[in-house]
């Protein structure tokens, strides 16, 4: 019976849905996390009678045909790149991007990754690094003993050298945008890398048209909305149950068929 296999595809799809929802809930408090959503598509149809075929010599046509679907599949799990709320931390090296864009980070193997998690620190050489110690690109070194680290909305990094009366510019932060943010490849640790689907990174100074601005002293919270995630969880669980009812019904019908000849 096809119904058994169709219901199994429905249960598998809801299983995936629950996995995605649980990952969103688990990352509710992850800095810069973007929630994901599983989207579904119907599977192929078996055409038993083509709509529009002639049903008589007089040219009458079958108005509807008979097509029986084989269930559902996961179309994709896509990232919803909406802005998360900005949380004030007061830390001079906590940076949030308000608007589109990603900070560029150099991984230990020399390749580039991108992140919206701007909870940065300084390493032993005075360079700005991520929480995992990866260098933020372009590399900016903060001179020792300097004070009053200020990062403007357009990404200019200024410090006061000891004894100086005016601030010195020590670097310019850049952020990168992509044509298709949702196509970026998630690597874990709040990092994403460029993929064939995302298109190449286009770096520019923050505040340019199409780019967000950098907010010093803030971090971007995850854009997970707990209430809607819990609601989705309930919907997914009920949908799973309903598909299991189909399995029970198909099983009962097969049992009836087996018991017909007493």
């Amino acid at each position: 019976m096809q119904a058994l296999r169709t219901a199994a595809t429905g249960m598998a799809a809801q299983d995936l849905n629950v996995q995605v929802i649980s990952n969103n809930i688990a990352n509710m408090n992850t800095v810069g996390f973007k929630r994901q959503s599983a989207v579904f598509e119907d599977l192929l149809y078996q055409t038993q009678e083509q709509p529009g075929v002639q049903s008589s010599d007089q040219g009458t046509v079958v108005p509807t045909g008979v097509q029986i679907g084989a269930g559902v599949k996961a179309g994709s799990v896509y990232r919803i790149t909406g802005q998360g709320t900005l949380t004030n931390t007061g830390n001079a090296l906590d940076l949030a991007i308000n608007g589109p864009g990603y900070f560029q980070v150099q991984l230990p193997d020399g390749t580039d990754a991108y992140t919206r998690a701007g909870n940065f620190s300084l390493n032993a050489q005075g360079q700005i690094v991520t929480a995992d110690g990866y260098l933020v690109q372009p590399t900016i070194t903060i001179p020792q003993n300097s004070t009053n680290l200020t990062i403007s909305q357009t990404g200019q990094v200024q410090v006061m050298a000891p004894g100086a009366a005016t601030p010195t510019v020590v670097g310019q932060l850049q952020i990168s945008t992509f044509l298709n943010d949702a196509g970026l490849d998630a690597q874990g640790n709040n990092l994403v890398v460029e993929s064939a689907a995302s298109g190449p990174a286009t770096p520019a100074n923050p505040g340019q048209p199409g780019y967000g601005v950098v907010m010093q002293g803030y971090t971007e919270a995850s854009n997970v909305d707990p209430v809607s995630e819990i609601t989705n969880l309930i919907i997914a669980q009920r949908a799973y149950e309903m598909n299991s009812k189909v399995v029970t019904t198909a099983d009962q019908m097969l049992q009836t068929a087996n018991n017909t000849k007493s």
């Binding site: 019976m1 799809a13 709509p51 298709n180 298109g199 189909v246």
Partner: protein, 246 residues
């Protein structure tokens, strides 16, 4: 007399197909833009009684009158994503795929690496002038209720929303796409396009669960009718074939 069993069988075969369809509806209760289907059962052409047979009434088998698709509007839900669009009313987005034009009500669009507006499967969404290309640097994307896409106050394209005189001409192709197998040509639709929203599946789970119960009970009822008929022949053979001992 075996006709009763065959008539019952014709209904049971159809009931299994109805279960397959209900299973597909329930599996797609969460599929964007999905339209539910139902089997239309009907009576076949009556078979006249066989000449010289004992039956005097014509026999009518149960047959399928096709699968009807309910194109009623699914619920619109807000997603907030600027490239999610839903159609409120009768109409379809036009998609260009490798195997020809397709139609869909699933408006989860995104941009491909060249900035072209595509579906989740990467097929190009068609505007009134072919493919639609957007540039994120030109500013936020706004889509009007007539499908006009603008960026920074400038029109950059218009979504093509079409419909058909008879929606029965469409077949489902999987992947939330419909195929036009008839010679009907698509005509522009006046349905409204809603940005930041998606149309949910129009499957009503309660109705489908009720269908499951109906199907399963009807199947049981026919099974017992078939056993009764078999018992009848069994009894007849025993009674009529018994050798009178006296």
């Amino acid at each position: 007399m075996d006709n009763a069993i065959y008539v019952g069988l014709s209904r049971q075969v159809l009931l299994q197909q109805e279960l397959d369809i209900a299973a597909n509806n329930l599996a797609n209760a969460d599929t964007t833009g999905f339209k539910f289907e139902e089997m239309l059962a009907g009576a076949d052409k009556a078979t006249p009684p066989a000449a010289g047979g004992i039956a005097s009434t014509p026999v009518t088998f149960v047959t399928s009158n096709g699968v009807a698709r309910d194109y009623s509007q699914g619920p619109l839900t807000q997603t907030g994503s600027p490239l999610d669009v839903a159609i409120d009313g009768k109409g379809f987005f036009q998609i260009s795929t490798a195997s020809g034009p397709r139609y869909t009500r699933d408006g989860r669009f995104s941009l491909d690496p060249t900035g072209k507006l595509v579906t989740m499967d990467g097929d190009a969404v068609q505007g009134n002038g072919g493919d639609i290309t957007l540039d994120p640097k030109k500013g936020p994307v706004a889509i009007s209720e007539t499908g006009v896409i603008s960026q920074g106050g400038q029109q950059v394209g218009q979504l093509s929303v079409v419909t058909f005189d008879s929606l029965a001409a469409l077949s489902k192709d999987g992947g939330n796409l419909y195929r036009n197998d008839s010679n009907l040509t698509p005509t522009p639709s006046t349905a409204q396009v809603k940005q930041g929203m998606l149309e949910g599946s129009n499957v009503q789970p309660v109705v489908q669960i009720t269908r499951l119960i109906e199907i399963s009970r009807a199947y049981d009822a026919i099974s017992s009718m078939m056993s009764d008929t078999a018992n009848l022949s069994n009894t007849a053979v025993q009674k009529l074939g018994a050798v009178n001992a006296s």
